[in-house]
Amino acid sequence: MKIELMDVLIMLAVILVLQVLAMFLIWLERRLLGLWQDRLGPNRVGPAGLLQPVADMIKIFFKEDWTPDFVDKKVFVLAPGIVVFTTLLSFAIIPFAPGVLIADMNIGILFFLAMSSLGAYSIILGGWASNNKYALLGAMRGASQMITYEVFMGLSILGVVMLSGSFSLKSIVLAQQDGWFIIPQFVGFVVFLVAGIAETHRLPFDIPEAESELIAGYHGEYSSMKFGLFFLGEYLGITLVSSLIVTLFFGGWLGPEFLPPIIWFVLKTMVFLLFFILLRAALPRPRYDQLLSYGWKILLPLTLINLMVTGALGLYFDKM
Amino acid sequence: MIDLPTSHVIILAMVLFILGLIGLLARRNILFMLMSVEIMLNAAGLVFVVGSSKWAEADGQLMFIFILSMAAAEVAVGLALILQFYKKFNTLDADAASNLKG
């Protein structure tokens, strides 16, 4: 295993692009929300407010990095890092284009699942370390929500794995040359989408933070760049889930020849990013227990049925 | 082929196991005892995985998977027990539940 210059370059590029993209996403979200809510959104800094994220960055960096006395300091500091770290690591397995891939692991999807389950620690530890009852409640909600939705997330992907016969995302993309997996795995797609939203605790499933109930929940005690990391992690998470959906169900970089593969990938991912923002604008937040019973009582059986049917059909057509 | 000395891995597993045992023997908090049990299980799993790789058979990994499912069930029941334990004795001291002494 020799690390070549190209690999390092790709790594650096990916990290850079993702940071910028996350920044850009903040602007995009605020603009779009304004659009859908029939208002302007940020439009003062730079052309069409494009430099607004930069301004926010500067603000966040220069705020006082205050750690309250009552918190568990080590864990308090550690928590926001985890989510950024695991999410960035997850990008290692995303095939952006042919050759533009950090690590073609044969257990790619499992790696993603592993990282996303580790991501739960960020919320839990953050909430616990804050030593604040709202934060703790948020953390507990987050923990149960993430554990719950991790299960279907893994199971919903397995349909795709069955069809492609590999855990490697690259092979999965290549297996979709004859047709995207959205068609045979529509149920899997739906479940993965819902579970993805829940995993990134985006609206409408932002129950761990739930501003109106828990006054920002697990990151209520965070400020400055530590809060910024949570923020960054959330947008990285959206990007990750979007790109995974694209890779798993929409053929990844595949597309007609007139555009290079990387562009196809970015375009498709953008669509889902917009979809995530639209969801935030459109849907109300469900109750906590509703979320869990929806997961266990509807999504889990649905996924299992999907798996069984996929397997049965696979066996049937193999025999033909 | 991976050129790792098997015995080193097994020694690592033994050390982990021993650490878990020490934890189990020395800690009075039932939660820590549960953790120590997990450490020991994990060490056992490590030995199985080494065996699996050494003989190029999947059996060892299967054993690890079964250890894993066993650990999951054990933790689920164990935590429920700890919950009840705490409710009943209002402490996590394992020695508090010594009503069954001879």
């Binding site: - | 045992l21 189990l24 023997l25 005892m33 020695d95 539940a97 009503n99 069954l100 002494k101 001879g102």
Partner: protein, 630 residues
Amino acid sequence: MTESIWIIIALPLVSFLILAFVGQRMTRQTIALVATAGTGIAALFTLVTGWRLLSSNQANFEISSNLWEWINTSGLTIHMALHLDALALVFIFVITFVGFLILVYSTEFMNEDSGYARFFAYINLFIASMLILVLADNLLLLYLGWEGVGLCSYLLIGFWYQDPSNGYAARKAFIMTRIGDTALIIGLFLLFVEFGTLNIGEILTAAPEKWVTGDTTAKLAAFLLLGGAVGKSAQLPLQTWLPDAMAGPSPVSALIHAATMVTAGVYLIARTHAIFELAPEVQFIVAIVGAITLLIAGFSALVQRDIKRVLAYSTMSQIGYMFLALGVGAWSAAIFHFMIHAFFKALLFLGAGAIIMVLHHEHDMFKMGGLYKKLPVIFWTFLIASASLAALPLVTAGFYSKDLILWQVFASNIGGSGLWAMGFAGAFITALYSSRMVLVTFFGKTGISPTHRPGWAITTPLLVLAFLSFAGGFIELPHTMGHTQLFSEMLHGTLPALTMRELPANGELMLQIITGLTSIIAVGLACLVYLRRPSIVNQLKSSSFGNLFVRLWFTGWGFDVMYNALIVRPLVSISKLNKKDILDNISIGVSRLMAFGNSQLVLSQSGKLRWYMMIIALGAILTLTLSIVI
């Protein structure tokens, strides 16, 4: 039809089941009907089967019927199989026919009793068990019937269980016979070990091939079988239970303790005759046992006051004759005497029962007296039966059977004049006590007067049995008088003939005249001393020597006292010694040790999880250390 001999057993069994389960809810008429019908039909069936077999003119007829496999383990296969030959035919004829008559009798006799259904259920179960015993194809099935009749005997002796002494008598009978049963089952084990089978036919065929005459194992086997027979047939030394068994209702005494169950020992010996022939010493012991029993029982019968006890001792005595006959190899004579004895002894018991019933349950003969006018039917039938018992020459069946035994004892190469003399003395005593019984009961001073005359259900069986007691002998007449041998010819295929020694030509006639005259003399003597000159008896009794013997005989030669002194008392005193459970200290010590160990180990049970973990760790270390060191 001949294949379905199981029906003979099944019919009484069905009656038993019906009576046992729904008998409490039935009226007395229904109970009587159900009770008698089963055995009655079985008796008819037996008659028909017997007739067909006898008219088939086969020399050696046998029917085997395999019903189902009962036990099958490695090396031991027992079939529920029945086997009917001439010997068994005689027995099932007696059992079903006499049994039926006794059941009919009982419908009236037990009419006042509250345990009506229970009584008939037991009797039917008894008949079924007895039939299983005699029809069994293998010794285990035979043993099943053997124990079945033992159980029924126990239940019926203690039928009136409110009186503790009846329960005591029942237990005594059960335990005494159990001693014999133990010997029998050990004998069965021995035979199984030797032959690997329990099938009677196979054993009888294999025994002469395996053993030479006088083989020690054969002796042992025969001796053990004899032990079983002695217990069941109330012979010396296990005879003491029979007089006490008279505590049961009279029909029970008639059926079980006179006609059928007590002769099971005779059946067993006759059935396994091949083994006894291979052990001549044991066969001779059989003869000795019979001879001694017939004498001591006869003496005891001579002085009893209770009419049923007289009959009980008489039964022992008559079975002694059968044993004597078996012992000298006069197989068919023994069976012939069994049949005749079943008739007249059942009749005697039934008659005695009827007398007792109408005399307010009075058992003492000397309180009866002068009944011959008041109860004519009972008197005449009783007289016939007594004459048969006393073996009055020419006209009674008892004469022919007993005479046959005496002659064959004399003529046999095993027997001889010594055994003959004992049998002869027994015959004299028999005539004496039977005459005494009749005279005291029916003549002399008028005692208690009867309440009523028994009805037809009682008198009919008496008449039928009286006819048989009178006419039954004519199917087997000696050489000297007509020479009819229907009975021994029938048994010829099943039982071997007697081996005779060289004798003078007219010896048989001489002996017959002697025995015939003896019984007549005995009857005359009895008339003299009990009717005309009672003072002779009283003088004899009052003399110190006579008094001693009267007391000795009255208690059955003091066997009960002896057993009490030799066995029961020592056992009781040993138990008393062990009252504080001295021997138990061994086992208690073990448990104390355990308790002590437990109390020490309990200390290790601190209830602390970590402590247990420590022990586990120590165990692991110990194991590893051992594996390293060793």
